[in-house]
Assembly symmetry: C2
DNA sequence: CTAATAGTGTCTCTGAGACACTATCTA
DNA sequence: TAGATAGTGTCTCAGAGACACTATTAG
């Protein structure tokens, strides 16, 4: 067969909603090129694993891997994207609920930290392009499927659900119309539980009916 | 940097509508593995070109490359997908109009030939999986964008347009409702020309208003 | 005038979106 | 009882889908 000098990596765009903001996990680069700049976490694919497995391996570093959504996005292959040599990167998007984020990604000082997508630092390589692509895909997935469940705790209020949509799609919805829609789509069910420790009327907690990602026209 | 033994290829799923059927271009393999079976055309990516460029290069072999739509689909990376060694393949989908297909893909005896997607031979490697994915994506793109223009001649009748949708989405539409919808979406315009050489009332010829791929909820 | 396809309008029903007040809990 | 958020129904308008006949051409 032919000779090639191409390395293969996976990049992981890891989204969560923290403090009512859509945030993405970034690492600080410790070496050149782009030393001290932030980057999307990535790693080389091993010879005997497929890319999805490599992306999961990477994801384990930062999260408690229960109930993670992982989806392949796009393959970035500009010959100049890494100044050191030819690297083709398969980008993935992960959605995780705040409760599944490991402590080390919490600290402000950390080299691995969440940033709100609305106030990002300058990113290394072509990672801005990758992130923009991921945000676009996330919006589509939110509108047309039930993936919202992966970014919420397993039991949630309808207000929380609405907030996820409003935050990610960057628009407001009428409370009554939103609930009517969710109700008709038959994607969530009531539990017998209610919020506790809140200083107002406690809301009912709901669960998604299906863990499977399904096509549902939500918006 | 790290040592890897991974080769990178592009696979091209080339669609067209021929004889009112959705068809895909397949080559006959001349060597093992899968000798004499049909496969999606593919090639290695050169060290200094991005994957899109590689896919275009491949496409030139079979088509007259004017007015081709080319879109990256998905990257297939199972370590066992090629029995000879580790090959990661970036799959692309191309849409071409029948008028842009080179003669050599026309002959029945050819080693490069179109097959209706409804009566496919057995495919080599994981190419059935890739093709299924491509068909799925094609359906989505037809429903939500104006890509239909790439599979039609530049001037076409509304009946032809409706046929493209019916063929690919595998369902019938009411003539009046279909035309109402297309009219309202404002995506095509009349020309002053009509069909010729037909044995019935000749239909008006239309053109797409925009060559750019745009989001339009067609169906 | 026959065969073949092009081309056109109306009605019904469903779903989207605008809109404001009452209910229930804690402190 | 004040403060805070949960929770609920109606009306209007636009778009989707069902449905049948006339128009125009070639031969």
């Amino acid at each position: 067969m032919i000779k090639q000098k191409i390395l293969v990596t996976v990049d992981n765009v890891i989204f969560s909603i923290i403090k009512d903001k859509l945030q993405v996990l970034l690492i600080k680069r410790l070496i050149d090129p782009y030393k001290n700049q932030r980057a999307i976490p990535w790693w080389f694919v091993y010879d005997n694993e497929d890319c999805q497995t490599a992306a999961y391996r990477e994801l384990e570093e930062e999260t408690n891997v229960k109930n993670v959504y992982l989806e392949q996005l796009y393959t970035f292959s500009d010959p100049k994207r890494d100044p050191r040599g030819r690297v083709v990167s398969i980008a993935y998007m992960a959605l995780i609920s705040r409760e599944n984020i490991l402590i080390k990604a919490w600290s402000d000082a950390a080299e691995v930290k969440f940033f709100p997508v609305k106030s990002l630092p300058k990113l290394a390589f072509d990672h801005k392009k990758i992130l923009d692509y991921a945000i676009q895909r996330l919006k589509w997935k939110m509108e047309y499927t039930n993936v919202a469940q992966y970014i919420l705790p397993s039991k949630f209020t309808l207000s929380q659900l609405q907030n996820v949509y409003e935050t990610i799609l960057n628009q407001k919805f009428d409370v009554r119309n939103f609930r009517k829609k969710i109700d008709k789509l038959w994607i969530v069910k009531e539990t017998w539980e209610k919020e506790i420790w809140v200083q107002n009327r406690p809301a009912k907690l709901y669960q998604f009916r299906s863990k499977k990602v399904e096509i549902v026209e939500i918006i």
